[in-house]
């Protein structure tokens, strides 16, 4: 092992763990067994995969669980150009020479945080393999550049999220990656729970929330037939927030749901008419 000889430029945070702690417990309305399942998997150290459509509450759930378990949370939004160095860390140049900077994954490994890789299929497969050594019984992270092998903190956990709707021949997880995880399936909550979420999040009247959830369900009927996805809970919350600012439900739905979700004129017209039917 070679000690880190780099000289930090800026003083490190007094308590790096505190930077990633979620101090206020985020609102999350459970609609099934997911909390118990997560806690069990966390307790025994199994990496967790959250599967479900966009905007149904996966990220909020992770934040909620991190806060509930009192662990720091480090979130990485994956993208196509992300490299292994973006996750692990790299030497950077400055006036005095070179300095090692931990990547978010390395930081989580050191601090015992939950590392949340959001939309992992967006990353290339040669990038995602860096988590393999952390997601089996080895629980190590080799830092080749530093000639160092980092042993994971006992509280370190990996959580990934994954939208099955985006899968294609070209974008999918390697079988060897998939099989390291235990998965919790998410879908949009049932109507009454979803309305409760919308009403609480956007601070609107329950009747408004009920109407918006009805509209959301109508849009989900078009999934796979004109729409890739129906309106997510997030979209409904956005529409409700607009309503809370005095915008009519119809206009709010146009702005927060119809226009963002589709460019197809037929689908747009059908969706607009369906919204009108629900109000």
């Amino acid at each position: 092992m070679q000690p880190d000889t780099s000289k930090p430029k800026s003083p490190p945070s007094a308590d790096p763990v505190a930077d990633f702690m979620i101090t206020e417990e985020p609102y999350y309305r459970s609609s099934g067994q997911e909390i118990a399942l997560f806690e069990a998997a966390y307790a025994v150290g199994i990496p967790i995969m959250l599967k479900g459509p966009t905007g149904c509450g996966k990220t909020r759930f992770v934040e909620h669980m991190a806060s509930r378990l009192g662990r720091p949370l480090i979130t990485v939004s994956c993208h196509e150009d992300m490299t292994a160095s973006d996750l692990v860390g790299r030497y950077l140049l400055d006036a005095d020479g070179t300095q090692w900077h931990d990547g978010p994954l390395t930081l989580a490994v050191r601090l015992g945080a939950i590392c949340y890789l959001d939309e992992i299929v967006e990353a290339r497969q040669d990038t995602t393999v860096v988590i393999h050594s952390l997601t089996d019984d080895r629980r190590i992270l080799p830092l080749e550049k530093k000639n160092e092998v980092l042993k994971a903190h006992p509280d370190f956990r990996v959580v990934i999220s994954y939208n099955p709707g985006y899968q294609s021949v070209l974008k999918d997880l390697k079988e060897s990656t998939k099989q390291r995880f235990a998965a919790i399936g998410f879908s949009y909550p049932e109507a009454s729970i979803e309305a409760e979420i919308v009403a609480t999040e956007a601070r609107v009247d329950r009747r408004v929330a009920d109407t918006l959830v009805r509209i959301g369900q109508r849009s989900r009927n078009l999934r796979g037939h004109g729409l890739d996805e129906g309106a997510s809970t997030r979209m409904l919350v956005h529409a409700a927030m607009l309503v809370s600012r005095g915008i009519s439900i119809e206009d709010a739905c146009q702005m927060a749901i119809v226009l963002p979700i589709t460019d197809d004129t037929d689908v747009r017209a059908a969706l607009t008419a369906a919204i009108s039917a629900c109000i």
Partner: protein, 736 residues
């Protein structure tokens, strides 16, 4: 000699006018023709200019010579009427030229066309009128009787053309939108089809459902575009409400037509009330169509309309005792349990009896459900146990039981939402396609190059089970020519048909890989041996391709290939077998299908192998069982195959058509028509990101294939040995 009336026009005009009508006077067409021209000429000149009148003179002569005097005598008056509809003299000259064209091509049809000219020009502009005439001339070149009917607007297709040209919102233009709407609000996707143009008139006025689908009128005549759109929405929302809330069909038993009508009305109100509880906005959609008023006369039709309005509109006050009673009964029932379907039967039966005793007139044969958005209610009645004569009356009343709905593959209906009924004797109201063994049917539009428009839902493609044949010859051929299929496999493998990926950290390339540059610089600074692979490039690495091989098995494929043993079909069969073998080896998804046609109503499509299935003995057996027969309606087959390919999620999707000649069919005289349609079908697929390529097995067919698929989308071959030579051309097209 009759003197022509003096008119107030420029002096040179006077001379020319006299000369013009003198020509007609002296031509021997008879006094009626000459008088008509003299009478109309001056008015027309003042209205549309002098040139029009001179042109009219020539057209009158033309019509008198080619058709008959009576028709020529009609022409001036019709021309004056046409002037009122058309804007300006230039358009009227065009109109006259069009009449001359009909006189030349279809002289017997001119009288009918003149008779309907006002009717046509009421909805068509001059361009639309000319299109209509071109269509009439082309459609029935060898069928004078049909041509006469067409120009007299007695032909269903002519009427449909007029309807489409009328600017009224017609269903086919908003079909997709309406299907999405129905799916969104009720979560169902049954096939929705237009009532055919030759269906009886009453059936063309209302929507209906049953037998696995919904039928809608092609247009709601007399409504503006916006109204039509709302009507279709209202109708589909209403039918969806039946689907959700009418759990069982009502047995007709011994009910009278009037009782059936009233029970249907109450059931309509019940399902709408339930639907509005779920979606209050539907009330705003349906209410405006209820326009019955208390002052309407107390005849059956009006009373039914008033009751409908009373049941949907809480504030509607109607003094009539029968309407008040109906409203009270319904509201009382609604307070207890509206989901109970028997209340419609009970309340409707009572009200029907009352109406019968009031001796109001009710003609079941002319009865059409009101308001216009409500369906004919055929779908909610079980007519199976009726004595035939009773059934006939009811069928006539609810219109159109004869329309057989067929399963289509353009949208599979969802599962029934309703729970299974414990009483198995009653049949469900179903919008789901019945699971029968009938051939799956799809309808596609066809492009008419004469009018430059698509004829919607014009062709019917039916999928037939492919016959089986002996697989032995195909197997033996695959073994004997294994080197050929290996060559093809190698070609497929070596083709890079996929998205270009960024390859980083290369020793050379098209761009600098910034991350690699930084790392290289850092490596140098920390005294490491530098890694100077700092370039990157774009490269197609894999292959992400779906292929559908479509074989033309028309009668002409029974001909021998020039200079070869075996028929065209043999070459096609073996080519398909080799390609299938090669694609199986490399593991690319592919499908094989074949087609032939017997008029536009029966394009036969045979699935040899689907994408999901492996190329096995079954597929070989189907391939071996193909026989040459019938004709080649290529456009419809391309559209149908395109639907399959559209569902594939590959980076490139290829339709590979193997054919021996140009499109043709027995119901088409015009050789160019089907070629142009196939060309449009190919363009349509290309627009949707599907590549098309044609292998023509006859050099003579090359020009036609070029026209349909484009020069770069066509290759010619006469033997399977040419396949490895032609394949790279296809890959070249796909990697452009």
């Amino acid at each position: 000699m009759v003197n022509a009336p003096e008119i107030m026009l420029p002096s040179d005009w006077d001379e020319r006018w006299k000369a013009a009508h003198r020509r007609i006077d002296q031509a021997g067409y008879g006094e009626t023709v000459a008088a008509a021209y003299r009478r109309i000429g001056p008015d027309l000149a003042r209205a549309a200019g002098s040139e029009v009148v001179l042109k009219l003179g020539r057209t009158v002569s033309d019509v008198a010579i080619r058709c008959d005097r009576r028709t020529a005598a009609l022409l001036p008056d019709v021309a004056l009427a046409a002037e009122l509809k058309l804007s300006g003299g230039a358009a009227l000259i065009e109109w006259l030229a069009t009449i001359e064209a009909v006189a030349r091509s279809a002289p017997k049809s001119v009288a009918g066309l003149l008779d309907k000219s006002s009717c046509l020009l009421a909805v068509l502009d001059i361009e639309g009128f000319r299109s209509f005439v071109r269509m009439g001339i082309a459609i029935a070149r060898r069928n004078p009787e049909r041509q006469i009917a067409f120009f007299s607007l007695e032909d269903a297709e002519a009427q449909q053309y007029l309807q489409r040209g009328s600017g009224v919102e017609v269903f086919h233009t908003i079909q997709l939108q309406m299907k999405h709407y129905l799916a969104a609000i009720w979560g169902i996707r049954p096939p929705v089809r237009e009532v055919p143009p030759d269906a009886p008139e009453p059936m063309r006025r209302r929507c209906g459902f049953g037998g696995g689908g919904i039928r809608v009128p092609p247009a709601f005549s007399g409504s503006s575009a916006g109204e039509s759109n709302r009507l279709y929405q209202a109708a589909l929302a209403h039918i969806g409400a039946h689907h959700r809330f009418t759990r069982r069909q009502f047995p007709v038993g011994s009910l009278k037509p009037l009782q059936v009508a009233v029970i249907s009305l109450v059931e309509d109100a019940r399902v709408e009330r339930l639907a509005m509880r779920e979606m209050p906005g539907l009330g705003r959609l349906w209410l405006p169509f209820h326009v019955a008023k208390p002052e309407d006369p107390p005849v059956a039709l009006a009373l039914l309309g008033r009751l409908s309005r009373a049941l949907i509109y809480p504030d509607y006050q109607d003094p009539h005792g029968w309407v008040t009673k109906g409203k009270k009964l319904f509201e009382d029932a609604a307070e207890s349990d509206l989901t109970d379907q028997t209340l419609s039967r009970r309340i409707g039966g009572l009200l029907g009896n009352d109406l019968g005793q009031m001796r109001v007139q009710f003609d079941s044969r002319s009865y059409v459900v009101q308001p216009a958005y409500r369906d004919d209610n055929l779908g909610i009645w079980d007519l199976s146990e009726q004595p035939p004569e009773e059934q006939l009356v009811l069928e006539e009343m609810v219109e159109g039981v004869g329309v057989k709905q067929q399963k289509r593959d353009d949208g599979k209906p969802d599962e029934q939402n309703s729970e299974p009924d414990p009483d198995q004797r009653v049949s469900h109201v179903a919008l789901t396609a019945s699971d029968d063994t009938e051939t799956t049917t799809a309808r596609y539009s066809e492009y008419d190059y004469v009018t430059g428009r698509e004829r919607p839902q014009w062709c019917t493609v039916r999928e037939y089970p492919a016959p089986y044949g002996r697989t032995e010859p195909i197997r033996r051929f695959e073994e004997v020519r294994c080197e050929l299929s290996e060559r093809l496999s190698t070609l497929f493998r070596s083709s890079k048909i996929s998205r270009a990926e960024k390859i980083r950290r290369q020793a050379e390339g098209e761009f600098l890989d910034i991350d690699a540059c930084i790392e290289a610089a850092i490596s140098r600074r920390i005294g490491d041996v530098g890694k100077f692979r700092v370039h990157g490039r774009y490269e197609r690495r894999g292959r992400d391709l779906s292929v559908l091989i479509l074989l033309d098995i028309s009668q002409s494929t029974a001909d021998p290939v020039r200079g070869q043993a075996g028929t065209v079909l043999d070459v096609q069969r073996l080519s398909a077998a080799l390609l299938a073998k090669a694609l199986s080896v490399v593991g690319d998804p592919f499908a094989v299908a074949a087609f032939c046609s017997d008029t536009r109503d029966d394009i036969r499509y045979f699935r040899i192998k689907d994408f999901e299935r492996s190329y096995d003995e079954l597929a070989r057996s189907r391939l071996a069982g193909l026989e040459s027969k019938l004709s080649t309606r290529l456009g419809a087959a391309i559209r149908h195959a395109g639907e399959d390919l559209r569902k594939r999620k590959s980076y490139r999707r290829l339709l590979l058509v193997i054919t021996d000649g140009e499109p043709s069919d027995v119901d088409m005289d015009d050789d160019r028509y089907l070629v142009e349609d196939a060309r449009v079908a190919v363009q349509h697929l290309n627009r949707h990101g599907i590549d098309t390529f044609c292998v023509a097995l006859d050099g003579a067919a090359r020009s036609c294939a070029d026209r349909v698929f484009g020069k770069r989308g066509t290759a010619t071959m006469s033997s399977v040995d040419h396949l490895p030579i032609q394949l790279p051309k296809i890959f070249y097209k796909l990697t452009r």
